[in-house]
């Protein structure tokens, strides 16, 4: 609820927010209707992103080396050529803004409206010649090919049914909430520890298949009964001990007890 308060305070403040952005919290500048998208994007950027990415998207190389906007110590990469693709990914997954530059970004509540995100994406895109937001076509993909590609490129970290897992130094997140566009973006961006896959490594057509497979893996064919998480032996072991063995020991007790009476 605290962020609501922050928003309320930020909204109550006039465009002064732009001149002197508060050191923390989310800033929502109240631009008059008709403000160009890039202009609104710049205002949002200045208020929410510049501490770590520099006042003009040039990046802040090292924590404490250069004070970011609002004199907040921050560190972040240059956004000069990341393009709309990267900005769209990080903002729509809630990966950014990040509470600590040293932390792994994780999927969380998106703190901006759709219009605000579009504005920031337009601003970041205007900084250089980065790639645009991709337009995947999972309906053209093939689930079987997707499984094959996912197993060789992705499952080693994301688990074969995209349930996520541990990797040295971080978590490969489950993909249960990822949208088609976000998957396409992540493959090209390589957020945090994830490697970047160029169109040479994974073509756009192959990417369609991978996205089709990830969509399938959210609700796969569950023959055989209750799927207990689709994680394999760990939940299976729990069922063995806590259902089967409990039932069988109980039956031993019943049988031995009944004979006594």
């Amino acid at each position: 609820m605290r962020w609501l308060l922050v928003i309320a305070v930020a909204l109550a403040l006039p465009p002064a927010a732009l001149a002197d952005p508060p050191p923390s919290g989310i800033v929502h500048p109240s631009a008059p209707p008709g403000t160009p998208l890039v202009e609104l994007g710049y205002q949002l950027y200045a208020g929410n992103c510049s501490s770590c990415h520099g006042s003009k998207g040039e990046g802040v190389p090292k924590l404490g080396a250069v004070e970011g906007a609002g004199d907040v110590p921050g560190a972040g990469p240059s956004l000069r050529s990341v393009g709309a693709l990267s900005a769209d990914f990080y903002l729509r997954t809630g990966y950014m803004p990040l509470d600590d530059p040293g932390h792994q970004p994780h999927r969380s509540r998106v703190l901006f409206s759709n219009h605000e995100i579009e504005a920031m994406v337009a601003y970041v895109a205007s900084l250089g010649n980065g790639p645009p937001v991709p337009k995947p076509h999972p309906e053209r993909g093939n689930v079987a090919e997707g499984l094959h590609l996912f197993t060789s490129h992705c499952a080693g970290c994301h688990q074969v049914v995209a349930r996520g897992g541990y990797v040295t130094g971080g978590v490969a997140p489950p993909l249960s909430n990822s949208t088609a566009v976000q998957i396409a973006e992540a493959v090209r961006v390589g957020p945090y520890l994830m490697p970047t896959f160029s169109p040479h490594a994974i073509s756009d057509r192959q990417l369609d298949s991978i996205i089709a497979y990830v969509a399938y893996a959210k609700h796969p064919d569950d023959r055989g009964g209750w799927s207990i998480g689709r994680l394999g032996p760990v939940p299976e072991g729990l069922v063995t001990w806590w259902i089967a063995i409990v039932a069988l020991v109980a039956s031993c007790l019943v049988l031995a007890g009944r004979l006594k009476s």
Partner: protein, 449 residues
Amino acid sequence: MIRKVVRYLDERAGAAPLLRKALRYVFPDHWSFLLGEVALYCFVVLVGTGIYLTFFFEPSTLDTVYHGSYRPLQGLHMSEAYKSVVNISFSVKAGLLLRQTHHWAANVFVAAVILHLLRIFFTGAFRKPRTLTYFIGLTMLLLTLLEGYLGYSMVDDLLSGMGLAIGYAVALSLPFIGANLAALLWNGPYPGGHDFISRIYIAHVLVLPIAIGTLLTMHLVLVAARHHTQFTPRSERKVVGVPTFPGQTPRSIALTLWTAAVLFLLGGLIQINPIWLWGPYHVGDATNGAQPDWYLGWLIGGLRLVPGFDWTIGNYTLVPNPFWGGALFPLVVFAFLYLYPWLERKVTGDNAWHHVLDRPRDRPWRTAIGMAMLTWIVFVFIAGSADRALVDFGVSYVKQIWVYRVLVWVLPVVVLFVTKRVCEELLAGEKVESERRAAERAALLDTAG
């Protein structure tokens, strides 16, 4: 009519005296004696379902392309083995039910064997004259673990392949003999020659089941020959319980049906090892969080907990890292189990025959050592699933591993002393109680006199 049949059989087999003896055999009347029976009935279900599965399983790694009914695999390259198991799951009548029941039965079988082993250990049932029965039981457990591993491995799905890769690494890590042994078993470097899968198939469906079945027969014959142990009475020369017929027979039949019912219900209602989701294995493929079936989880825990180091002399690696967790750890556990009866005899000097069981509290040291050992293994086992604890509950993996590295050594020691103390206190309490009763009786006699 029955009389006629019985006479026909008796005149040709001469089994009447033996049968009469068998029917009069006295079974002890305590629930914990039924745990071994549960294991036995699991084994029966395993053999039954396993025979059905062999009709359809194809032990071959030859490459083929899938064109079956399950769409998400269509057009994929896979081995004949994997394809046949997908077909068992989706096309063969009752195939998925029996495959899942087979797998659940394996999981429950090992659990029942271990509960049975705990009962034997903590009550001292392994002592003379039943040490041989105990050794045979341990050997069956060892073979069962291998049997389960091979069943998991021969399906050639993604988890099978990763399991074999780990097994191969552990085999390689054995000092001096490792490389040659692995090459011999796998018939070449990983993933092995084409005949590797026929080897593990023959081992899984023929060699090991027959070995386990033979040992099982010896185990049961020895149990009958040496007779069951007794909880009560407190005399080495009396046997109390119920006869085979009419007492034990309905109980055993009911337990057979119960066990089969639980296993088939699980097989029908709860998914196990959905290999169509794991996909086929190709060398180099991997999935995060791959795990063995629960009964080998302690070895994965062992492999994960050992800090990364090798014993080297110059450029020559004497003992590669997987040896510690994957080979030495189970070696120590089984060596402890095999040597314990001898160890206890040496330390206590108790060489007598024992037909009457101890309650765990009657032998504080044995109970304490057993509990410490159990704690050690269980915590290594739990450490094996630390990655799931991170993903599902957000507990830092590296911190977990360090906490386990400490707990695994500290907790057994704590448990050792706490258990010993609890046993001694329980005994002391009983002593006070019996003294009080004796004094009261004496006082009562006095007033009466």
